[in-house]
Amino acid sequence: MADYKALEDLVVQVRRDILRQVHKVNSGHPGGSLGCTEFFVALYNELMERNENFTMDGIGEDLFFLSNGHISPVFYSVLARAGYFPVEELNTFRLLNSRLQGHPTTHEGLPGVRVASGSLGQGISVSIGAALTKKLNKDKHLVYTLCGDGELQEGQNWEAIMYAAGNNVDNLIVTVDLNGQQIDGATKNVLPLGNLKAKFEAFGWDVMDIEKGNDLKAIIAGMKKAKEKTGNGKPVCVLLHTVMGNGVDFMMHTHDWHGKAPNDQQLETALSQNPVTLGDY
């Protein structure tokens, strides 16, 4: 049984990390990061089987790929707090010579990152590749991927989605951050995604919803169910219904904070809604 109090504390602390990172450099993407905080915390602390030390090859452990690389602030915070690198390094987010690039990169050798992302639409393909290698290596572990809902407008995703089902890549769980928002507005106004569940199913995937995508219990229960679906010949898709900007009242339910940092006053308000738990970096 998960220690929900500890996980809740971590969620709040990660929110603070996200807000403080983007505020310091007045750039970066808080909205999507906040919406996926509970997912990341659950994934890295309850769901993935991870080795002690990071290696690129990740033999004998589960792998995670972030396709929507712009939500790097949540990724970095969760990685740091899981011990991949010192939390103090969050201070260097987006600064010159930092390992914490605007979008995740392998170029600077940040532990926890296995491929660069930022240019959207490429993560599912890379995840399929890593999942195929796991199979070739007779490694029973899983590959997890997160991608944005707007991101699914990129055609490459659908090439990948077709491939994964057609080739029984069943050691793969792709989670879609279904927040209904993207840069120019609500996804339904920019380019409607239609019935995503039906689309994935039509391509041959095993699809499930997690309706409460910002509820740790629901995420953990749902993802465990997703895990059980693996190994049955079909890739697994989780539609994670999230609220963009979750945990900061004025950032919620809008695309306004997709790629905008809070000013001093806004930061103060946002942090006051999320008081320190584990300690700031």
Binding site: Q101, S119, Q153, E154, G155
Partner: protein
């Protein structure tokens, strides 16, 4: 020396947006397409003025290029807008086959080019786009230097029949070219006349070249400065005329030294009038996160780097 004054810092992408707004009013065949970056590309005004001529394609750049190519059939003049990386590398084969090879009148308008995109980092900072685009037969490649010039170029390319790549940037930079300039594709702009060295610059480096020239002239080095806003077709005549007088050249661009303006100039000189050349450009590297100024400094793309390159190239004469 001619005096150039910054009339107030402005971003070149706003020059594009304002140019597009003006085009929308005067040319009803102009249509605009965007891939979920309307605000970043400053296309909002065109969109609001002409919703029926604005096409939001979503985050789907390959589809956008294909649709744009198709819209030319029947006489529309499509302007596509997204970041430079997603305007070129992301969609290279779509441009190659459906636009360039098919000779379609598509204007590929690309913002946030180069290092000055800043904090987003290397995934978004393309430094290879000039090379990619200039290698396509029949493609015109333009990299404007300031707000006024970007606005003028945006308007001018609508009257030119054929595919165009128009490259501009994100940050606010000096605005110093005339608001009423007559933008001529393929025609270099002579900014300073001098006898000791030629500086050939494009994009954001043009203002840096002017600053460098001031320093150099104070040090008794008479400097010729040429603004090459059109990298292809290159103004061979203007470049050769200058280098024949000065005997050496520094090229300056916010781009990799492989495939950029510098290589085009080197090719021209080596086949017509060999002369020592130094390259102000990135040295076969990716970019990284940082402020635009920090990055331009770290990668040697500013006035002081140009001054040093000039001293080096003169010594090689």
């Amino acid at each position: 020396m001619k005096k150039y004054t910054d009339t107030g810092k402005k971003d070149t992408r706003s020059g594009f947006g304002d140019g597009l707004t003006e085009l929308g009013k005067k040319n009803k065949d102009v249509v605009a397409l965007c891939a979920d970056l309307t605000g970043s590309l400053k296309m909002d005004e065109f969109k609001d003025n002409h919703p029926e001529r604005f096409f939001q394609v979503g985050i789907a750049e390959a589809n956008m290029i294909g649709i744009a190519a198709g819209m030319t059939i029947g006489g529309k003049i499509p302007f596509t807008g997204t970041f430079a990386n997603f305007s070129t590398g992301r969609v290279y084969d779509q441009i190659r086959q459906s636009v360039a090879y098919s000779g379609k009148n598509v204007k590929i308008c690309a913002s946030h080019a180069g290092l000055t995109l800043g904090e987003d980092g290397a995934t978004h900072q393309i430094l290879e786009d000039i090379g990619l685009m200039k290698m396509l037969p029949g493609m015109t490649v333009i990299n404007t230097c300031d707000y006024n010039q970007t606005k003028a170029a945006t308007i001018a390319i609508a009257d030119y029949e054929g595919p165009v790549y128009l490259r501009f940037g994100r940050p606010k930079v000096a605005n110093f070219t005339p608001a009423d300039q007559n933008f001529q594709i393929g025609k270099a702009v002579q900014l300073q006349e001098g006898n000791d060295v030629t500086i050939i610059a494009t994009g954001h480096l043009v203002w840096e070249a002017l600053q460098a020239a001031e320093t150099l002239n104070e040090n008794g080095i008479s400097t010729d400065v040429i603004n090459i806003h059109t990298i292809k077709p290159l103004d061979d005549e203007a470049i050769l005329k200058s280098v024949k007088r000065t005997g050496c050249v520094v090229t300056a661009e916010e781009h990799n030294f492989l495939g950029g303006l510098g290589e085009s100039v080197a090719r021209l000189l080596s086949t017509n009038h060999p002369a020592p050349q130094e390259f102000i450009a990135t040295q076969d590297t990716f970019g990284e996160s940082g402020t635009p100024e920090q990055l331009m400094d770290k990668y040697g793309l500013n006035a002081s780097a140009i001054v040093n390159a000039v001293k080096k190239v003169i010594a090689r004469k």
